[in-house]
Symmetry: C2
Subunit: 418 residues, 2 copies
């Protein structure tokens, strides 16, 4: 590794691309010799701090240059990056990408392409940016049967939930996140859980050997969460987090949704734009990896880590991939997943209401763990937490309860992290 | 990796050795083919669940067997393991060890031996047992300039401190830890910080390229901590943890001692026998790795992870080691380290006492952050927290204060984690 200089191409020169190029150029030569040979951009004429000689707008200049050892893809979006990565791997080049969309869409196919061509493919930055968690999962923990992997893997929504925990409204939390550049002008991907969902698909592939389809992966976001939900959470010794859960304990299911989580759980301590991934298995109990989940510098750090791994691996002429895990488990639909549900209702303050409501749960075989009822004039606020029961039974109960004459509104429903 | 069967020898068949052998024998052949060819024991006649054919009491049977690809060392102690590991590396065999004593003593030498012989050396289990943290530090984070690494890396003392936080006395916490097998009959290594010190030396080598000597690494244990210290910690919004700190921000210093730490710090949440390592750098901010820090199964998990890495690496005929970090920094003696100190004194409740004490600090250029004085009959309890100042100035102040007529006892001194 010490004696060779590796030629690198970077595809994309946006925020992350620029951070990566600068880090590559300043990397201590005592670690590895690197030469940035090509940078692929859309528009060569745009002003940049990159020498004109190495700029190109033609992918073939990279694909067909036999002297290029490894290529970093930071274009964003699925096309044309996905086809580029595949072609590069087929040409035996090492590829490093930060692109969660591509890996969620085609991770398994691209890993197989890498293996067939004795090529290297790395994507540490695609999940939880600056936290080195994928390599430990792929390599160090490959011998473990994992039972559950969960995580806070969207920094924007966690930043907003942390603000709300401290008293902000949802709208204030969102505008601050937008001002700070954490949230996009259209925040849908972050606040509706879609970004976390792509990352959950990648974790699922690496930890359990299966990539759930979009339909199989129940996803709910944080846009319905209110300050009042946080006040109730605090009364119960809990807070609210958007958590991805991939569970293979009693049947396999992956899902992303907000949860009420005990303040003593390690994920409850993950504040602001931080990310964390919790990996569980019989031998290792519970491992927690936490750190910065977004931003150009942490993302560049993950990419540089991958570059070093690739350079070390390249002289061996073999893929970096250990055999992928084979899926062992039984797919469980979300409606069969066991959940404990927190339910907040506005009801008429009159005799028999609680009996009606608890009767409805009983008919659906859902038992109730705790109830708090508080008068609000001629209305009352009723807060119930159910024991674990299948999602479909809980859903039926809530549908029937919301149709009761004495129930004005189902104000909110939140799953409890168990 | 998939098509070859690797021959493995295990040196040592105690608790950990037995767990490792059982895991090796039951490992999914789809990951890698492994054959346990030899197990080195002291006494072959002892009854074990290991076939007689593979037992040996002669190290040369392993060293000179060319068919053995990799050797796992779990003998314990420095001798003869250290010489064995060196000889095996010189014969080109991959070596995996869980032995913190050997790596703290000779890590740098053994790594160089591995590199010179294109051999592999792994020791993930030597620090924080089941947490995959060394590989991320060695590989994923090799491109980062780290500023500080700290951690709770002794499970026994953390178990005891957690019990004390919950109200136990030191003696009760120790006897429970001994009953549960967390603490040895002679608990010195754990409670006096020696175990954590060895691990700090290893972290220092990997993170900063230098192995501090025993004299350079200030070490203090938990045997002086009392219930009353915890009560005071709670009043200040803090708890007490035994933390190893290796700091290269303003000069380099490594040290292990108990600290008063804010309950919101990630290390404060590490409870019971868990371990955690916090890695800091400008680009990555703060990464936290936590999980089980001891026990046969987590240790075996780390060793199996190393076995998989070794098998993957072996077909490349090159060492697993990236260039070690070069030490960049200026060694700072512990007496020059800046500390903030919590000091609890029993004093005579008479005029002028506080003036005398604060005057003494002032003469030593130590400024005081907070003071609480509480009457206890004709005595008073005085609790001071200093701002950060050099250790030697704080020590001088305390020496002079303890000699004052109005000061009965310096009840306790604890550094505050800053």
């Amino acid at each position: 590794m010490e004696n060779k200089t590796f030629n690198v191409a970077v595809m994309g020169a946006g925020n992350i691309g620029s951070a990566v190029i600068s880090r590559l150029m300043n990397l201590d030569k005592g670690i590895v010799g690197l030469n940035v040979k090509r940078v692929l951009v859309k528009d060569k004429s745009k002003k940049r701090e990159i020498s004109d000689d190495i700029l190109t707008d033609n992918f073939d200049d990279i694909l067909n240059d036999d002297s290029i050892d490894l290529v970093i893809e930071v274009l964003g979006g699925i096309d044309p990056g996905k086809d580029y990565i595949k072609a590069l791997l087929q040409n035996g080049k090492a590829v490093i990408t930060a692109n969660k969309d591509i890996i969620a869409d085609s991770g398994s196919d691209l890993i197989n392409t890498a293996k067939e061509n004795n090529a290297c493919l790395y994507f540490e930055a695609a999940v939880a940016a600056g936290i080195p968690v994928l390599k430990p999962i792929i390599e160090s923990l490959r011998g473990e049967e994992l039972t559950k992997v969960s995580g806070i893997i969207n920094g924007t929504s966690n930043y907003m939930l942390t603000s709300m925990e401290e008293g902000s409204t949802y709208d204030d939390a969102l505008s601050t996140a937008q001002e700070l550049g954490y949230a996009e002008p259209d925040p849908t991907n972050d606040v509706e859980g879609l970004d976390a969902k792509y990352k959950a698909v990648i974790l699922s592939l690496l930890c359990f050997g299966t990539s759930p389809t979009s339909d199989d992966l129940f996803t709910d976001g944080i846009s319905g969460i209110t300050k009042e939900d946080f006040e109730w959470a605090a009364r119960l010794g809990k807070t609210i987090k958007l958590v991805a859960q991939i569970d293979n304990k009693n049947g396999f299911n992956a899902r992303v949704h907000p949860v009420l989580i005990d303040t003593k759980h390690p994920l409850a301590a993950i504040r602001g734009a931080l990310n964390a991934v919790v990996v569980e298995g019989d031998n290792i109990n519970q491992l927690v990896f936490s750190g910065p989940g977004a931003g150009a510098e942490p993302t560049a750090s993950a990419i540089i880590g991958d570059v070093l791994s690739a350079c070390h691996q390249l002289s061996s002429d073999q893929t970096n991939w250990y055999p992928l895990r084979e899926f062992k488990g039984e797919m469980k639909n979300f409606e069969d997943v066991q959940s404990s549900m927190f339910i907040r209702l506005s009801v008429n303050d009159e005799p028999g209401v609680l009996a009606n409501i608890s009767g409805t749960f009983g008919e659906n075989n859902v038992s109730i763990e705790s109830v708090i009822q508080e008068g609000r004039g001629d209305k009352a606020e009723l807060v119930l937490v159910t024991h674990e029961a299948p999602e479909k039974d809980i859903k039926n109960s809530i549908d029937q309860i919301s149709a009761l004459d004495s129930v004005t509104t189902v104000t909110s429903t939140l799953r409890v992290y168990v």
